[in-house]
Assembly symmetry: C2
Homo-oligomer: 464 residues x 2
């Protein structure tokens, strides 16, 4: 169905800024639902984005900003409507590198892997790292305040951004591409747009923080008796500094690797029920292997670890990381009943895992793969069918199981969305568990900045 | 003059929540102006704050939140009106310490030095550190997104805060005292209230981030040929890690120490025109003195430093820091014509110092004391009378001199307020140099969250 405004839009923009409406823009990684679009536009810069936004604002047409399309909560997917889908793919220049300042200026359509490379070429580190880094774009990563494996040391996407350029729902351009470490000149509009999932404006460029590249890195997988011991080991590791990732892995995740015929195995004779993957990045004079050996020895002495492997080469580091990074693919093959992206106060993690697991098992016969960024209290606590059954067999039970997890998280002052955001998937959950005063303030801010409700309507807040 | 609502307010609150209106609450550190108040209230918790806010909202009475009263831009000082001044002094409990999580929960009225002590007692570091730490309170420090000497390594106040409890202009309580490292559940209301200088609500408690305490620390003062070399030295120092402060000191600042009879002297025979103070804090196995010696030797070889002193004891560290920390007192005694709190992109710092100094000297015969947190690009670039003249002699020239500095900063994409905020002092400067789109968004947010305009009116944004 062709929207009646399409010819007008064509007349407004250069030909090359219009894209075919198609699967590439409407599909969604988990296939939970399918988006729709009246037009797909690919503006080249903030001025063209502004033209599109003014066009849409004048006619009350919704706009869905689209980065790499890798979001897992439907923020980039508006079903049952004919919005203008605005892809950042033509804004992918790296505008400037300032190694002496540890700053990189990039456009919103830059792919994360390219940003990482540009930083590396300047002998710097851009530490944002996550599974979809080959596809995800900076604009989307900032709009969702993305997390990943290095948050423990370097923070979330919001922490890695010094300034942004963005187009507001009025079409006005916010020129906030500052590269300052201290700047207290009014409200933190940058921080508000970051994490707003495209509902308050469209980020078109960003000034990103760089860091010195670690001179040497080390990786170890260690077997722990349980989550409590893993947390003690984390404390111990952090006291010596340099910990850039600390990942929890459950036996269930490792068994899924074998079950789904993925050619990756943990480096132990027996599959450990709980293990952790530790990554160190050290400066000059550091010796990560020695530091990991000392950590292992001290932890072994007091029973915090029972077995472990320390990578002796880059290949071995890669192989250990492959174990962790292949688990999501195994999950996909098994087919989760419910996927979660939760976070908890660190000291509440063991009690949550125990309490929630008991409650779920009482309710239903299922398998739990609990893994994730333990250093941040961020768990992917995902529920799977027992062997011989499939996701479909649990169709009627998913909602209640999801609710149990959300309740157990809320009871421990945790979050139902640690790093993936609210999108369209969790609007109801936010309404239920979010602080009512915060929700009222969010609604007031949304109405004030986007009075016509055109920016990604239905994401984060229910459209009305 | 007694406001006609005072008896009603007395009837609303417990007796002990009312304070005498007096100098302690109306004076302002630099004596630039004097505040006024119809009443001073000292609520004990968020519920009592909420009562006061509802009382004020119903009658349209302005509220000025008041922390330690140490702000330098008049944010805590509303002249020519009879607001309710709300002091946080009775909310000073440390509610909880979570060493395993590196989190501390404190009420807004906690004095910074007490928070630092509480962290130290739990063998942790709370890194916010600044001159007024014995008086400034956490609520005010967050509301102004305070900076200080450790921003380079640990970030500004906003970066050190995981969650807040706050009372909104409606009187509703935002219960956002989360202690999560990852939490993407809607807009960053916490980050918006932090740095809003009390114009969007009143912070009543905060969850603060703690860090491992450095095992060993070292301090050095090194003489550099100029700001450019100082920046190269900073890069070199950062490559080895552990730099927690990097302060620039000008010869003018050191000469002021002697001129004002302050009993503190730099450890060099001749007063160096430019020097830096470097502080290292290292983990287990680190040797800060050795690291500083290596840094000095390498920098000396390539002409980045010409002289230097490395502290050999805690007393010597203290003495070196005393040089830096006594400069503001010397400034006060000399009497600045104009004080600035600016920041610049790091690589623009040398050009700014050169260009702005030339332009000012062409305009007026004056002395410049340029010092500050070079690692953050944050300079206190303050203008003083030449010997034999006083501040008063320049009275008619201050505005034009201030404008020159602001222009030179803006031309290099810097900020006219790095760490002190906008307050009432810089409302006009923000209107002139702020991004118009950001200003419009700020106004829309202010009107949406505080439609009656009762929260600290006239701070940050002009009241209307």
């Amino acid at each position: 169905m062709t929207p009646d405004w399409l010819d007008d839009l064509r007349a407004t923009l250069p030909d090359e800024a219009l894209r075919e409406v198609g699967d590439a823009y409407l599909a969604e990684p988990r296939g939970t639902w399918r988006g729709s679009a009246g037009a797909v536009v690919a503006p080249r810069n903030a001025e063209e984005v502004s033209q599109v936004v003014r066009f849409a604002a004048a006619r009350g047409i919704p706009i869905v900003p689209w980065g790499g399309g890798t979001g897992l909560v439907g923020g980039q997917t508006m079903p049952d409507a004919a919005p203008i889908l605005l892809t950042t793919e033509r804004m992918r220049a790296i505008r400037a590198v300032h190694p002496a300042e540890n700053v990189l200026i990039v456009e919103a359509g830059c792919i994360l892997a390219d940003v990482q490379s540009a930083a590396a070429q300047a002998d710097r580190l851009f530490p944002l790292a996550l599974a979809s880094e080959g596809t995800a774009r900076i604009g989307g990563l900032l709009s969702t305040n993305a997390g990943g494996v290095n948050v423990l040391r370097y923070g979330n996407a919001r922490d890695l951004c010094l300034g942004i350029e963005a187009v507001m729902p009025s079409g006005e351009v916010f020129r906030g591409l500052r590269r300052l470490r201290k700047d207290n000149t009014g409200y933190d509009l940058k921080g508000l747009l970051i994490g707003a999932e495209g509902t308050l404006g469209i980020i078109t460029a960003a000034a990103l923080r760089l860091f010195p590249r670690p001179v040497s890195s080390g990786t170890s997988m260690m077997v722990v008796p349980g989550p409590e011991a893993a947390l003690d080991l984390l404390s111990m590791a952090q006291a010596s500094g340099g910990v850039s990732a600390f990942e929890l892995i459950s036996g269930q995740g490792l068994r899924f690797l074998a079950e789904t015929d993925l050619p990756v195995r943990p480096p132990f004779d027996e599959v450990p029920e709980w293990s952790v993957l530790i990554d160190l990045g050290l400066g000059p004079g550091g010796d990560p292997q020695k530091q990991l050996e000392t950590l292992f020895a001290e932890a072994f002495d007091i029973g915090l670890v029972s077995d472990g492997v320390i990578a002796q080469s880059e290949q071995q580091r890669h192989d250990l990381w492959a174990v962790r990074e292949t688990i999501p693919e195994a999950n996909k093959r098994v087919g989760a009943i419910v996927s979660n992206d939760i976070s908890l106060p660190l000291s509440a993690v063991p009690d949550f895992i125990e309490g929630c697991t008991i409650r779920l098992r009482r309710e239903e016969d299922l398998r739990i793969n609990c893994f994730g960024h333990l250093g941040d209290g961020n768990l992917h606590y995902n529920l799977f069918p027992v062997e011989g059954r499939t996701k479909a067999d649990y169709a009627g039970r998913a909602a209640i199981l999801r609710e149990i997890v959300d309740e157990e998280v809320a009871a421990r002052e945790g979050s139902f969305s640690a790093e993936h955001g609210v999108g369209r998937l969790k609007v109801g959950v936010l309404e239920r568990y979010g602080d009512p005063t915060k929700l009222a303030a969010m609604r007031a801010i949304k109405d004030a900045l986007d009075p016509k409700g055109i920016m990604n309507p239905g994401a984060v807040l229910r459209s009305r």
